[in-house]
Subunit: 326 residues, 4 copies
Amino acid sequence: MNTIGKILTLTTFGESHGPAMGGILDGMPASVDIDLDALQRFVDRRRTGQTAGSSSRDEKDRVEVLSGIWQGKTLGTPIGFLVRNTDARSADYDDIARCYRPNHADFTWERKYGIRDPRGGGRASARETVARVVAGGIAMQALECLGIEVEARHLPVDETILKSVMAEGDTMGGIIECTVKGVPVGLGEPLFGKLHAQLAAAMMSIPSVHGFEYGDGFEMAAKRGSEVMDLFEQREDGIIGTVTNHSGGIQGGISNGEDIVMRMAFKPVPTLMREVPTVDCDGNPVTLQPRGRHDVCVVPRAVPIVEAMAALVILDNYLMKKTNVL
Amino acid sequence: MNTIGKILTLTTFGESHGPAMGGILDGMPASVDIDLDALQRFVDRRRTGQTAGSSSRDEKDRVEVLSGIWQGKTLGTPIGFLVRNTDARSADYDDIARCYRPNHADFTWERKYGIRDPRGGGRASARETVARVVAGGIAMQALECLGIEVEARHLPVDETILKSVMAEGDTMGGIIECTVKGVPVGLGEPLFGKLHAQLAAAMMSIPSVHGFEYGDGFEMAAKRGSEVMDLFEQREDGIIGTVTNHSGGIQGGISNGEDIVMRMAFKPVPTLMREVPTVDCDGNPVTLQPRGRHDVCVVPRAVPIVEAMAALVILDNYLMKKTNVL
Amino acid sequence: MNTIGKILTLTTFGESHGPAMGGILDGMPASVDIDLDALQRFVDRRRTGQTAGSSSRDEKDRVEVLSGIWQGKTLGTPIGFLVRNTDARSADYDDIARCYRPNHADFTWERKYGIRDPRGGGRASARETVARVVAGGIAMQALECLGIEVEARHLPVDETILKSVMAEGDTMGGIIECTVKGVPVGLGEPLFGKLHAQLAAAMMSIPSVHGFEYGDGFEMAAKRGSEVMDLFEQREDGIIGTVTNHSGGIQGGISNGEDIVMRMAFKPVPTLMREVPTVDCDGNPVTLQPRGRHDVCVVPRAVPIVEAMAALVILDNYLMKKTNVL
Amino acid sequence: MNTIGKILTLTTFGESHGPAMGGILDGMPASVDIDLDALQRFVDRRRTGQTAGSSSRDEKDRVEVLSGIWQGKTLGTPIGFLVRNTDARSADYDDIARCYRPNHADFTWERKYGIRDPRGGGRASARETVARVVAGGIAMQALECLGIEVEARHLPVDETILKSVMAEGDTMGGIIECTVKGVPVGLGEPLFGKLHAQLAAAMMSIPSVHGFEYGDGFEMAAKRGSEVMDLFEQREDGIIGTVTNHSGGIQGGISNGEDIVMRMAFKPVPTLMREVPTVDCDGNPVTLQPRGRHDVCVVPRAVPIVEAMAALVILDNYLMKKTNVL
């Protein structure tokens, strides 16, 4: 299933080395101002080549909006869009078509479907995230109109470690923290659709993410109840809020008006610039040679992806909340 | 939305102090043997009073199956079930009806719906999980037929710490690790429906869970690619597997045949056996008095809940996989 | 799948001769006044024994609401309910357990699931509709608050024909027309979720319905464009409406503010009070003997079922419409 | 919501005079042979200009498949596709942007969303059906592999009536009958997802359809039970079937192995080649002048659309059925 969301749904398509990646963002309310130049700039943030740890391909991800936005405003109709794949070099991948790269989806994909597109990982390539960023960028513009702000950042890594990892042909993981400010009280469905459960699903669907936590997260497990209690107070403006935010802006699965704070753990890039032993589809041992261009660390590129997924979930729940009262 | 699942869906209902909790498990294949006594025993594991850290209420959660199982076999029809609420003492909760208990869902629930059932937390009570355990227990029996085994455990806590926490009227969190053995290769939808994304959503929907990770999880973020690489090997029986399991049995969102391993962080119980300052719905300061019987640590009771949610997700994906080929 | 609806969902369970029928109505907004006595009276309209063509069983369908309604108001939580099966006489059905009754679901159900509950048709019995009527009755009360009125009627049949059909041990079909008044402009999703497509699906899901049409329906096919054109006019109150209503209150899949008018064709009851030849599950010819008590015509009993399904669809779309603008 | 289907889902996008129409067909099993030339020929059948009653625009609907099919086979990934809009002449529609054309979706669309794309009806144009035909054409190729055949036909109209209607600038409706042969026993979900309920929803979602019936349909309402009884027989090959097919191949919402037969009533084209009185968005009377090129009768063009929708529903249910047993 390639769809996420309930009212605001995103369905995506595209293989890494096929003609295009794209998607349909459905359920966007009508009459929302969309700045396509700003959208392109947001998508550009995902591009390679921006930071030391990223590879140097210039992907030129030009967004083509095919429907749903007219004269700078949403129509209430589905927003179809695509991004052409321009820099595909299938030949780079021919000899790995029969091999299972460790920590990639080659093996599982082939066993699941009985067939796989070996060109650059096909649909399993992280390139699929470009469609998420386009859709999420549109959602972010809608959230901005509502005074809701999504911001993620790569928790700092030591540049000297990064350089030594790179020099050794190795790779690194990392953590992204995402904060959403200005979320009204009441978003989230309190049973299976808890706001943090939806956020977890969205974040864990980003390639390489191995962990999710919100508020004090895993640290909560080692703390006492008295240590993590977010006491209520009435503020000067009459609003009831909490003094601390161990709960990360969500209680009982519903936003409480405080900042939503979550963290995602990314595994290291699975493609090393070293020889790696593996097996082919017949089980024979083979050695993968280092080649092509690959990121040492994908985490910086993943920042706008995290923001995009957060924006989609928050806006979906914002719309959903409208149905709480008759 | 009180439904989870795609093919195998569970929809639940019930307020803590209403007449009953219950649910409908839909999409169960026909002709699966169900042992209702074994199911009752599984549900009993969730009951209070089993461990030092649990409260002493005897909830007597007798499962009534109302449909979908006949003569010990599933019919392919929806399985309706309920568990009566027998030990409700609403009076215990009357004076907190106007107060917002910190780290509970009182405030968010009331602001979301404009109304709330204050009796024992209403729908926001952890009592709702009994319906999950019933449904998950049925799913587990189906998985057993398939040779798939789900097992969770509370990662050990120091008994002396637990006692001192209890003595101080304080509470504790904890971590549950869950392992699923015997999962065939190929379960999971590789984009938004990655197996671990579905598991994360299911686990994060359990009350008090603040974090989810699978495989090496958050540790992955600090490791190098070469350290976490699960190299492939062909085993003596010809099966291709991995030598290590840093990936936790899932690659690219699809099960790879290794054990699925995940961990969930639970926050400490929010109800202390101490005085707690808070505000009422008008924002006036009030003090909550310790009363009633509450768990010092819910984590031991949550073990079967975790197993239930894992079972539901795995069986749903097992069924979903059948549609991969024509 | 035993669920219908998008925001307002109904999931039902129950076999004809199992312990109970029931369901969960999820997504009802909070704080809606529900009169449970009025609900019981609505459900009673479905009971047997009310008209000449119905059988004489007194089903005593007492509705038990288990959650979601408290102190006369909805809580915003799922409404769980059940109706016990009190008049089950399984013995009546034992000898037909191996036979396929013509125009029943015996054959298809058994081939689909490899198993079937022969007691009174099991889940395939029209008794399942009691859960629809409970849920639809709740939805109708919500619609009344909104000034939306649902009313269905059995298009008249000649009483002398009915009597002669009954005398011959034969059965009859019929047509129900349903009108929904007071629907605001703008309900319905204009592509696959056209309001009339959703109504068609809901109505065609009622047992025995073989046709659906709205507005001029099948007559439209033989008419000219100029004959069925609903010209617009501005009325004295400034409202724009149509002079005629050939379109049945829906244009482009969206309600236009005029009365929604639809008709459903019901097939004759498949159980005759005559000997009927058929085959058993081995293909051997057998003769079914007339027995038990069966309706000559189910259409009068189906009137509240039609109203219930209409109410569920209209309320679901009313809620959905709230998400059209930011 | 612009998505239809459960396992096999189609999501579409596109406004009539925007850059392109398109869609994503998700859930197609892997390794299905797809002949793209045959697909293009199927899509061409929907084109204008083929019959006396159709308009003469040459839409040149060239299908671009962007993903999901590689080397002539499906990959199990979503199939993204588009069809460019090449013959758009927005100027033709400028003066009707403020008017509500009778029996069109102008009024309802504008009131629902507060905004509408007036260019050729925007998303409300029947041009949206091109995406359905592309997806349905792919589904039909899969069904052919399974020995399932979908065929629709326009029930004959008198050519002299058609000519006189055309001469008068008037339009006509019509009926399409669709037959599906080779459907295995057991497709369809017996409660809300009855096979005929799903077919009804799919067919009623086609622009201009005002009625749906299957088997003897509306005639059933006037018949006696004894007249429409499809008696079972065991055939020479041992298969159990029915002697007649009044039930249209579906009993209890589940296919019974006989031909599925259904009929859809189409209303006359709402755009006349005559002056038509209406109102503008301020309620002022205006007169629409005949202009542009419009079909006298859309029914011949709708034949492949009906086949496409039938194919999507049948294949979806074929896949769904795989989950009935463990």
